[in-house]
Every structure is written in C-alpha cells, then in structure tokens.
Amino acid sequence: MNSIFFLLPIALILGGIFAALFVKAARDGQFDDLDDPPERMLHD
C-alpha cells in the first residue's frame, strides 16, 4: 500500500500534463468552432 505515495503523485502529474495539453489546444482554437468543420467538405 505504500506504493500509493509514489503512484498518486505520478498519476496527478500525468493527468496534469494532459490537462495542460488540453489548455494549449483550447488556446490554439481547437474548440472554437465545433459546428462548421464537419460541414465544410459539403461546401467545396
């Protein structure tokens, strides 16, 4: 059970990395427009 003292922080750090990636993606505009891209191919 002592391993949890290592595993829990590691899990949180890994999760934190993914949260940071999400924040970066959102700032790059990944989630700005969720409606148009699926329809864009129909307009070409």
Partner: protein
Amino acid sequence: MAAAIIRGAGLERYYQDREEFAPRPGPLRPGWDAVPVTICDDGSAEVRLVVDGLRCASCVWVTEHILQATPGVEEATVSYATGRASLRWDPDTVDLGTLAGKVAALGYRPRLLGEESKPDQGLVIRLGVATFAAMNIMMMSAALYLGWVSAMEERYAALFRWASLLLATPVALWCAEPFFSGAIQGLKNRVLHMDLPIALAVAVLYVHGFISTLVGTDTYFDSLSMLVALLLTGRMLEGRGRRRAAEAAVSLAAALPATARRRAGDAVEVVPAGDLVPGDLIDVGAGEEFAADGVVAEGEATVRLALITGEAEPVLVSAGDEVVSGAVLVDGTLTVRVERVGDETTVQRMAADLRAAADRPVRLSTADRIAPWFTAATLIAATLTVIGWLLAGDGGTALRACVAVLVVACPCALALSRPLAAAAGLGAAARRGLMFRSADGLLDLVDVDTVGLDKTGTVTEGDLTVVSADDTTLRIAAGLERFSMHPIARAVVEEAVKRGIPLPRAEAVRETPGKGVTGQVDGLDWELAAGGPGEVVLSSESREIGRIRLGDAVRSDSAEAIAQLVDRGLEVVLLTGDHEDVAGRIAAQAGVTRMRAEVDPAGKAAWVRAGQESGSQVLFAGDGLNDGPALAAADVGVAMGTGAASSVLVADGVISTWSLKPLVSGFQAASACERAIRWNQRRSIAYNIVAVSAAAAGWINPLVAAILMPASSAMVIWGSSRIEASMNDART
C-alpha cells in the same frame, strides 16, 4: 463608483491571470485608433460595436453606466438582445481605445461589428480544468467513503485529502471565477442574481474543505468540483445557443451585391459596390440586384421590389424613374445614374431604423429573481440551525450542521434549470424550422394570444402562380414564355408542366419589357400581352384566344398551420397592403376570419401597438422590409428567413423553410419549455427544502451530499430532455 468597479473587476482578473496562466490579451487592444468612425455635424464621433460576454441584465447596466460616466462620452447604449453598443463621444476629450479599454477592463470583450465573434475560450478551459479535477477528486472521495466501512489508515486518508485540496484549489479559485466576479458586480450594482448563491456555496465549500484538510476531518471537495463543472457546462450551453442564433442572423443579413458594372467612358469596368460614388453610371442586367439607389438614365425594364414592398408583382421602369438598391431587375437592361450609396441607400436606412428599434429593454430571468430569496432563505436556515443546536446544548453539531446546510442548499439545479430547458426548447424549435435569437423570444410565445400574419410571402407563396387558364391557351403561352425569366413566364411554364402539357416549339420570339411577348407557334403568329391587373391575354392576329389569370396562391400547408394556431386559442389576423378583394380571397382560402386590407408598413406596426394597448401579447410574422416596423414593435416578431435580410435582423425568430408549420412547432416548444422550467424549478426548490431540513437535523455527511447534489442536477437535465419527447408526442 465607476472607477471602483473597474478597479475591482480589472485587478481581480489581472491577479487571476498572473497566478494561473499566461496573460490573456490585455484590455487595451491595438488598432482602435484605426477604426472608422462616423463624425457627426456637431463634431462628435459615433461608432457601433459588439460587446461579447454580456451575461445578464446587470452586465449591460454596468457597461452602459461606466461608459456614460466617462468624461467626453455623450451617449452610450448597450443592447442585451444583440450585444450591440452604440457610442457617441467627443474625440477631443477621449478616444475610442480608452472607451474600449474600459469595457474590456470589466471583463467583456468589445469588437468591431462584422469582426468574427470568438467563443469564450476561457470558459472552455475553465470547464476542462474543472472536469479534470472533479473526476480525480471523485475517485479519491470514493476511496475515502469506502474507508468508512473498512477502516482506512489515517495516513492514506490524509494523502487523499491533501491531493483533493491540491486539485480543488484551482477549481474554487480560478474555474469558479466567473461566478465570483458576477456576484461581486451584482452586489456593487445592488442586483442580486444567481451568481451570488453560487459564489457563496463555492466559498463555503472551499473554506470548510481547507480547514477540514488541516484538522483531518471530512471534506466536501467532490461536491464542490462537480458543482463548478456542472454550472460551467450550463453557462457554456447558454452562450453557444445565443452565439449560433446571432451567427444565423448575420449570415442571412449579407444582402447587397458585392460588385457593380460601372461605365468608364465607352468601356465598362467591374468595381466593388463600396467604390461607387453618386454620379456614376452603372449597367444592370436581368437577374441582377441594384447596388445603389439611383435614377434610370436609359433603358426600360421590369423591376421586382418584393424585398422593399413585399408585393410580388414586378413594376415597369424607364428613364427618369427612381430605383432602389436591393430591388431585382427582372428583364430588360438599364443604365442607372447613382444617387445614394452605402449607408445612405433606402434599404440601409430602413435597416438601420429597424436595428435601433430592435434594441429592447432587458428582463431578469426567473432564476435571477429567485436568487435573492434563495440566498436569504439559506442564510436564515443556517442561522436557525446554529441557534437551535446551541439551545440544545450541542456546540459541535451546531457547527457541522450549519456547514452542511450551507453546502447542500444547492443553487445548482436552480441555476441550471433555465439554460438547460431553454437549450432543449430552442433546439426542438430549430429542428422544426423555427430559430430563435434568444430563449426570451421563445418563452414569450407562451403569453402570445394574437397572431398577425403578413399576406405576401408568409401565408402565400409570394410568387405569382396561375389561378385560372384553359389548357389550349396555357400550352401556347408556355411555348412562347419557356425561355423567359419573367415571373409571369415562370408561373405559366410551371403550371403547364404541372398539368402535363408538352411545351410546343416557338419561333421568332420577341420579348418587350413591360409589354409582353410575340412569336410563332404551330405556324401561327401569337401575342401574349398584359390585359388588366393580374391577367394576360393571348391573341392571334388581334383576335383574343384566351386569358390567363395570375395571382399569389396560398401556400399549400398554410390553412392547416393556421387551423392549428386557431385550435391553440390564438386570434389570427391577416394583414396586407393589397386590395380588399384579393385579401378576402386569400383569407377565405387560408381559413382566416379576421383580416385588414390596404395597410401600409406603419399601419401594420400601429395595428400591433393597438393590440398591445388593449392588453394582448402580439406575435407578428412577415417577410418583407415593409414588415420590419411591425416585427420590431411586436412582442414576438417572426421573420420568414427567405425574405428580406433586414426583417430577419429585427425579428426574435426566423422561419427557415417555406412554411408556417414551424410557427405551430414553436408554440408547442415554448409551452413544453415553460412547463419544463417550472417543473425543474419546483423540483429543485423541493430538493432544497428536503436537503436543508435534513442538514439542519444533522443527518447530512459528505457522502450523502455527494449523492444528493448531482441527483438534483440530473433531475433538471431529465426534466429538460422531456421537451423533445413531448414535442414528438404532440406531433403524433
């Protein structure tokens, strides 16, 4: 006071930015000096902006007052419905950059009209972070709750609590920031809205959790993070719906042609419509729209003014006649001397008047009205709990029960009930062809008792169709007209095709704009010419062979839709600028018992206002620019999306198909939505009464709270999802 609010909101935001993430674009954006402004006669400058991020009535209030309190500002109005601000200021005293900076410092995002609307990235990130933290905290809380059963070692429990605190800190301090700033702004303006109890709950939960972690007792961090994540979801849904409706209106508003053919000496050059100046000569051909107002210099043509007058029948114009931008040239060619361009044109001026009329007063939502009572009731309940337990002589339980009361008195379901139900209601109506700009417009339908319908284009097709003709006449006429783009020709050909008449071959066809058409069919000479209003005469060698009567036909499903409206207990009235006889015929076909003929645009608006003065809630549906004043005056204005763009701009809702049926669906969606909101609010109030009583009695612990709080939100989600289901029931 204004400075205090700016300092409060501005510094707070700055602090949050520095602590958590890289700085967002500062309040002062470069480029405001380059914004084109209109300089008025008295030397003051004027501009219209869009302000993003206005969430509530008090946001609008605060923005207006800050701007008005700035020295040099002569006029500042902000519309909640459209997010538009109009500003008039003295350029010698203050510049636009400073004014925009003041708005930005409040946390709203000013931008130029026509600049692309950016969705709130910050909200998405806040929601993402809150969800991430909530899921992790819930996992650790599950372990802690299991620890109650199978005695967990204290050091593990402490680890989980500290890890939860680590995750809950950004949620409470950063993700929930919109609620704190909303609550603070509300307090400063003496408006208590729904953000206040939310901010209060978050603060109590976090402070309690922080102390509990230090002393090693149970926290409510799972409830806290879930509460914030759910509320941010609700807020995002609300913003998305509003933005999509606004975008739909903007895309429909792109009206004027982008280019014009300008005479340059003997040559013709294609120039952007914006480059035209009064005095230019432009060529306009069949099927083209006029890019500017002007006077016909040469040529003869028929012109369709449906956009401006709403009537289908084209009119003949020749040298010396006036034409307006937005009208469509049907056949012939014209050279027009430009007189007015851009914002000065008749269409743009009418549209501007309508936009001004569309800025309506703001209303508080029911949840915002309940908020102060909710907050007061919660605080009173908490105080009573402490007093009660102290009287009973149990100090320890007094504190715990008091915290439990503050924690479980969840404003969550109450705050979510309206955005969720509204999103479901707006979606249900939109899928059936009626798009609403805001939830207010949809919910206003519930109180509507009188429906005014414009005739042309709303109840009728808006295009000419053949009313009566015999097959022989129709066959020859269709042969002569088969290659013409004139509305009468298209109606004749369409009718012939519908009756299955094979179109004969015509030779030597000559079309004279405004007169008619001549040609040879089956080896004989024919002439098809106008023969009185709504009639064309087919003759051969000056001998009349037959007549074709044309008119504007009632749309095939209008009668059914109107019958359904009448079934709902609505008073349906037909309004038209047409002659009494025509109106009477259409009214009879459409099944409308009350009508008003020969009313002009102002008359329609006056009819709406007369209805409102006699205590009715009036809905008006129309399509032309001439319906604009009535649409703007009505409690609910519904534009046919296929009609004039400017009437779409002032309407609350837009029908996106050629039918009145969506209007019926809109009424169904509105009442389903209103039922759902009431149901949601009743249930969440009931939940709060039960939960607060249990908490006061000392029965609530973190596990019970963690189950009860999402359960109350799930109830609201379920209540809203029933809207679509009840709509489907209503249809079968």
